[in-house]
């Protein structure tokens, strides 16, 4: 349908340009993407780029540094504390993620059954996740306190230990303690997401498998687990990324101590850059996290790829 456009002498050219712009899908599309692009550039690309740039300078707080190429990284290569932080971060991430996955899956399987007060219990499970990290970290600080720890108190009353445990004072204890706190905080995310995945598995598949002669373990092994794999890949990627970049828990509980035993790359980076004023070196530590994160993402990229059985056809 072409409507007769009223002719306005002298202005017809401008009007039609505006009208053409208004109806051009490419230009409109660009226009609509602009806000998102600005946000991404301003708050993601710029800080990331600035961080990488800073890691190649000898900037200090309050001064402009010189561009020194990879000197910071060369220096870090010989820094034992940096390598300790890398080791701590890997240990922290791997141990916490595996345990979070195991316990989270177990919790999800339990919650997927018919339980009394199901909705209420599910809400409670989410609690550790909705409490601000700093609050729960302070609570854990008390739990792990060397003199007032309720855990030590309870264990002593039960006669299991003679002496209060120095949770955060001993390197190995401190590592185990911060990992435990991270697990407590991370389980709800894993459990609730896996629960959502479990609920998409049709009950009749389990019934069919039961009639086919599968035991509960075989149903889990041959039905639940393969159908849950795509969701497990997503959840564990996010869980690994969150854990690897964790800062708050450590900063409140141990500040990296004792003897740097709980220093993660994130906390070390902060400590060197802000209290230590060595902005360039801190940025270099942060930049050094990028290869690890990319590796984790690549893992999930291949894990996330659609399985062959998910291809083609309608869903029903």
């Amino acid at each position: 349908m072409v409507a007769e456009a009223p002719k306005v002498p002298g202005r017809s050219y401008q009007l039609s340009l505006w009208a053409r712009l208004n109806n051009n899908r490419d230009i409109l599309g660009l226009f609509f993407m602009l806000p998102a692009a600005v946000i991404l550039l301003l708050f993601l690309t710029y800080p990331l780029g600035l961080g990488v740039y800073l890691s190649m300078t000898d900037s200090r707080i309050g001064g402009v540094g010189n561009f020194i190429w990879f000197e910071n990284f060369e220096w870090l290569y010989g820094d034992r504390v940096f390598w300790l932080a890398v080791f701590n971060t890997l240990l922290y991430t791997i141990a916490a993620s595996i345990i979070k996955f195991a316990l989270g899956l177990w919790l999800a399987l339990i919650l997927n059954h018919h339980l009394p007060f199901k909705a209420f219990i599910r809400a409670i499970v989410l609690l550790p996740w909705i409490v601000p990290t700093v609050l729960s970290a302070i609570a854990f600080w008390w739990l792990f306190d060397s003199q007032y720890s309720i855990i030590s108190w309870a264990l002593q009353k039960m006669g299991i230990i003679d002496q209060y445990i120095d949770f955060l004072g001993d390197p190995d204890n401190a590592r185990a303690s911060v990992i435990a706190a991270n697990i407590w905080r991370g389980i709800p995310f894993v459990a609730i997401t896996l629960l959502a995945g479990l609920q998409t598995i049709s009950v009749s598949l389990h019934e069919a498998a039961t009639l086919d002669g599968a035991t509960p373990w075989q149903r889990f092994r041959h039905i639940t687990l393969p159908m849950l794999t795509p969701i497990i890949a997503v959840v564990m990627t996010f869980s690994v990324l969150f854990t690897f970049t964790d800062f708050q828990l450590i900063y409140v509980l141990t500040r990296g101590g004792p003897l740097n035993a709980t220093h993660l790359m994130a906390t070390l980076s902060f400590q060197r850059a802000i209290p230590g004023t060595q902005l360039g070196e801190g940025a270099a530590i942060a930049t050094a996290m990028i290869p690890f994160l990319i590796t984790a993402i690549l893992f999930s990229y291949f894990g996330l790829q659609n399985r062959k059985w998910q291809h083609g056809g309608r869903d029903d």
Partner: protein, 355 residues
Amino acid sequence: MAAVSIQKVFKSFGSTEVIHGVDVDIGDHEFVVLVGPSGCGKSTLLRMIAGLEKITAGEIAIGNVVVNTVPPKERDIAMVFQNYALYPHMTVYNNMAFSLLLARAPKAAIDERVREAAGILSLTPYLDRYPRQLSGGQRQRVAMGRAIVRNPQVFLFDEPLSNLDAKLRVQMRTEIKLLHQRLRTTSVYVTHDQVEAMTMADKIVVMRDGHVDQTGTPLELYDSPVNLFVAGFIGSPAMNFIRGRIVRNGGAPSVRADDGTDLPLPPDAAGEEGRPVHYGVRPSDLALTDTAGVETTVGVIEPTGADTFLYGTMAGSEICAMFTERHGFEPGQKVRLMPRLDRVHLFDGESGQHL
């Protein structure tokens, strides 16, 4: 293969009783259809045979063994689900082989049985496909293949055709019937579609509100329904019902409809003077006459080619008549229809039982 016996079976979910004492005897090799409206308990009954639901009271026996406490996998039954319940992450081959793999059957035996079943169901070209890559009818066949390879004592079908389009449904109906004629496995088939029941069953069990209303061959149910519900449920289009009272008139009894019209009855019709009844006559048992019969106002004519359906008003009630010959009626035209007296059914006005 085995007979299935259901004795005084009750089922409650919490405090709600949904099946109130059902008895069904299913003979060896028989194809029995449980049919009824939604919520009548037919699927629950089937799931109790399968062992997916507990039996609250009563007894279910498969091949003379009471299976009330036997777990599903030891009942030696196979079930075809309404949504097929195919394992989406397994190929057609593995879907069919799964039960045999779990039973640790030898690889060669599994392969032989899967390929044999695939051959019967013309699924051989699709063995390496995943369920998502199949059409509805093919998925349906895989679901049956999964049941066949197990060579079970009893096949259970839970509304297996309701997800298919009309044409495919008719085709699969025939395929299932052929399959049964070939394998002779005792089958219990649940559907809400009375046409499916009529066309497939050796024996139909009509259920309503957790009771069995009537059991019999398709034609027994069609010719001698025990009550108003079965009469209205079996047969398509449904039987016409007109409310009225019996008038004995000496030797020529009739039913006087609520609007005063007399509907003819055979001389030996049951029922005493004045008894309120439903007068039932099937659309195909109404014949066009010139003088006798009951005046009917034509509403709508539906020529379907083979048959002509007349929807109109007879004695104040909406009725349908079916003719195999073609007629050119006009809406509003008055015609006279004569019920075949030997096929007229009378049902009690209150209980709905056949007189």
